[in-house]
Symmetry: C2
Subunit: 220 residues, 2 copies
Amino acid sequence: MLYSIFNSNLIMLTAPDLFQKLRSFPEPELQKEILKHGKILKANKGDVLIKEGQHLDFLPIVIKGQIRVYQEKEDREILLYYVGPEQTCMMSLSSAYFDYKSAANGMAIEPTEILVLPAYLIAEWQLKYPSWNKFVINTFKSRYDELLNTFGSVAFKPIQGRVKDYLMERMKTTNSKKIPVSHLSLANELGTTRVVISRILKQFEKEKLLKLYRGYIQMI
Amino acid sequence: MLYSIFNSNLIMLTAPDLFQKLRSFPEPELQKEILKHGKILKANKGDVLIKEGQHLDFLPIVIKGQIRVYQEKEDREILLYYVGPEQTCMMSLSSAYFDYKSAANGMAIEPTEILVLPAYLIAEWQLKYPSWNKFVINTFKSRYDELLNTFGSVAFKPIQGRVKDYLMERMKTTNSKKIPVSHLSLANELGTTRVVISRILKQFEKEKLLKLYRGYIQMI
DNA sequence: TGACTTGTGTATCTTTTGATACCGTCTGAC
DNA sequence: GTCAGACGGTATCAAAAGATACACAAGTCA
């Protein structure tokens, strides 16, 4: 839980190798500032870092691991995007410029290391450091594109096609035909229910597109 | 049509009262630059200004009127957002920073006046003029929020609820209980078909929420 | 006036998606 | 080993949404 993000579990920045992992910020001045103001948070798998409605006053930049950002409504949820290394999330970025409550949840899906920066610095640095500005603009732009893409799918594509897309995507990014995912979590990625997913996957199995196993899917 | 945006129908900027309508840019220097590089485009109702897949090298800022930005897929379409006075659109803004093709269409829904600026200036000005930077960040942020909102509705709300929301919204923004909209265009706003909309509206009429007329809906 | 276009109402049928329920299996904790 | 919990398969039923087709009314334009 991150309600106490600035109190618990934080490690002072000492690691000199931080900027080997964070290549987006080459300016020495900026690096100095980051070291001065930033802290490292280590999160475990399943830790909820950001909750819908929560007010944010920090910017998390992922160093290692993955954060899953999703919306929730009653017992359904739907994936917005993942935040991977060297990336940050829209919610926090927005909150730096405006008084803003998060519109989504963020949860670590694996052991994750996060660089935590106070939000008020974001706007300041943006005017001072070109690479920081680029990072900000880049984030806005790519998150927007992602969302637009997902939006298009949800609005126009029947679930069946979205399941196929999801599997193809996973296969491509992990470069493996074995996709470790349960029917339930797949349902949560796509904003539907488990039964629907089981049904569709079974159909795909009959069509010899894949084979189903407990806990994973083997693509053919 | 805007394929020839820099050739046709453009008026040199002479109007000194431009910045009475465009209050977001108070810096005299910036105003000078805008006058120097910008042109005014007058669009008629129904003019398509931006097409999906089109490469954009200009930034349109609406001075008067409205542009409707929407996605299309086969015979369906769905509204993303409107661009009103003093606003611009994400598609063009993105294109200024990256090599980018528009992911949506933009059409004037009423006679519209647009300030057209060459895209390469956007990044330049962003570093020079605080008000311009604010404008850029503001646009990114508010367009993202809007999209996220719409996305949430589409993902979780049955169409019936979305129709109701849409009507309420229109009633609020125009401050009138008479909403001039055909069933077909309503279907296009919400990404569904005319028959579905007619059916739902009829249901609402039976529930005495509204009255249906040719070309408009009277809320009760 | 007559031909078209646009807007609306409605019936019928199909497909898609969702809800519920029940059962068997696998796995890890104890 | 047992027990709880996660996982997956499946059947049944209901609701939501879409496709198609036809009818008719109102406006437009020549």
